[in-house]
């Protein structure tokens, strides 16, 4: 098959990318134009169509991929899965950032404040920092194998930390009665549900597309690092040719 390769793109990414683009256009059309405002939240409900999907994609899909990649890497040392885990975490952190911002923007008109101690928002914020830490460990200046192994251990623990944080905050807030408007109570008609559904699909497709590109970027970086290493080894070996035993 003839596949023109430019940068990190390929036929595969272009197909996924086109799907993501079409879905996103549809989301904008339905989410911002064709669906009506909600009775109590007004037009702020439209934030929902991107807020919930980006949180779900990040917490469950992206960090789930990081978990799986880390486990496989620890099992068989495959660079592929190590890079997948790292790429998914980075895109996941980006999406989680979006979820945080849209959540706060949604809270202002609905709850009257940017920040409430809502279990979802609170645990999302902490998970965000958890995975920032994971990304920091991936950038440590260690020998590559050591770094990847540490990152893999951390990737696995971090996934469970997200669950623990979520769980603890959930019980905490459920003890306090009257946590204002529950997002699940939102009154949605069919066009709103459809917009929400579109938001899910668009975010999943965008995530898949970004994951492919981000992984390939990491793969190229890995290849270049190997080249650099080969050069460094050659240079190191070259030191021997200028060596004169008399100078010790």
């Amino acid at each position: 098959m003839k596949t023109e390769v430019v940068g990190t793109g390929s036929r595969g990414t272009r197909i996924v990318g086109s799907i993501a683009l079409v879905l996103t256009a549809l989301l904008l059309l339905f989410g911002l134009v064709l669906s009506p405002p909600e009775i109590s939240q007004g037009d702020a409900v439209r934030l929902f169509y991107i807020h919930v999907p980006s949180a779900v994609v990040s917490l469950y899909i992206a960090f789930g991929v990081t978990l799986v990649g880390s486990v496989i890497y620890l099992k068989n040392g495959s660079v592929f899965w190590d890079l997948i885990a790292g790429a998914a975490a980075e895109v996941g952190v980006l999406f989680l950032g979006f979820a945080l911002i849209t959540g706060m923007l949604w809270g202002r008109p609905t709850w009257g404040t940017y920040w409430t101690w809502d279990p979802r928002i609170t645990s999302t914020a902490i998970s965000f920092v958890l995975f920032l830490g994971y990304l920091a460990v991936r950038r440590l200046d260690l020998d590559p194998v050591a770094r990847s192994r540490r990152a893999a251990v951390l990737g696995i623990i971090s996934f469970f930390n997200v669950i623990i944080v979520r769980f603890s905050v959930q019980i905490w807030r459920s003890l306090h009665q009257g946590t204002t408007l529950n997002p699940a109570d939102t009154q949605m008609d069919n066009s709103m549900l459809f917009s929400f559904f579109l938001g899910m699909l668009a975010m999943v497709a965008t995530f898949a597309w970004l994951l492919m590109h981000r992984f390939r970027l990491a793969w190229i970086e890995h290849q270049l690092e190997e080249d650099r290493l080969a050069t460094a080894i050659a240079a190191r070996r070259g030191e021997a040719s200028t060596f004169n035993p008399g100078t010790i």
């Binding site: 920092v129 830490g133 200046d141 050591a146 951390l154 623990i157 603890s168 019980i171 905490w172």
Partner: protein, 233 residues
């Protein structure tokens, strides 16, 4: 494994006893944090307690949270110290060379940290009672909370301390990694302590259970992963 753990724990405690970093630096730090909270939160302002008919000073009401925050920050210092001791003179390598079981190293270091934390909690706790003046309700619940939280902080702290071991960035990396992990612990410990002080006890015990489960989880994680973490340190 347990023999190794014992040797490591005793060694760590003897090093601490000799260097007095805990008593000379970490404890005063914890007390200082307690006092400083009084500067940040107006000590004279009073609030109506959740029970309704009592009013307390704000500081008294939030004393459990402040106490655990002070302990948490001090624990960061202790964790850092636990691994600094091993990095000064290449001792981390030597621990591997003489064949200590990684799980034993984990347990020993965690035990040593736990002992230091208990000492810290007793002193800072007495300080908190004196400075913030909350009532003492259910002592058994309070002791159980302290015990479960200590284990949770010790196990998680040592796992994350090892992640940063031998790194130039350790001092900043470990707090960044550890604090969000310990956020649920802080939450649970604070709620349980609130129940122990102001009542009712029944709402505190589930949080103690949560802390216990958290400790067990990190105990398992540490035993399983410590080999990998130390291996290429």
């Amino acid at each position: 494994m347990l023999t190794d753990a014992r040797a490591i724990a005793l060694k760590d405690l003897r090093v601490e006893a000799a260097s007095r970093v805990l008593t000379a630096q970490v404890l005063p730090f914890g007390m200082l944090v307690l006092i400083l909270f009084g500067f940040g939160i107006p000590p004279d302002r009073r609030v109506l307690a959740a029970e309704g008919d009592v009013s307390r000073s704000v500081l008294e009401q939030v004393a459990p949270g402040l106490f655990w925050l002070a302990v948490l920050f001090s624990a960061l210092l202790a964790v850092n110290r636990s691994f600094a001791v091993e990095s000064v003179d290449g001792n981390l390598d030597a621990l591997k060379l003489v064949g200590f079981d990684p799980a034993g190293i984990f347990l020993g270091k965690a035990a040593a940290i736990a002992v230091q934390l208990v000492a810290l909690e007793i002193v800072v706790g007495i300080g908190a009672f004196l400075v913030y003046g909350p009532p003492l309700g259910d002592v058994i619940l309070l002791v159980a909370t302290v015990a479960a939280t200590t284990l949770a902080v010790a196990f998680a702290g040592i796992v994350y301390g090892a992640l940063g071991a031998g790194q130039r960035l350790r001092d900043t990396l470990v707090p960044l990694l550890l604090l969000p992990v310990l956020a649920p612990v802080l939450l649970a410990a604070t709620r349980a302590t609130e129940s122990a002080l102001f009542g009712p006890s029944s709402s505190g015990w589930p949080w103690v259970g949560f802390l216990g489960a958290f400790s067990l989880l990190y105990l398992g994680a540490g035993i399983v992963s410590f080999g990998s973490l130390l291996e290429e340190a």
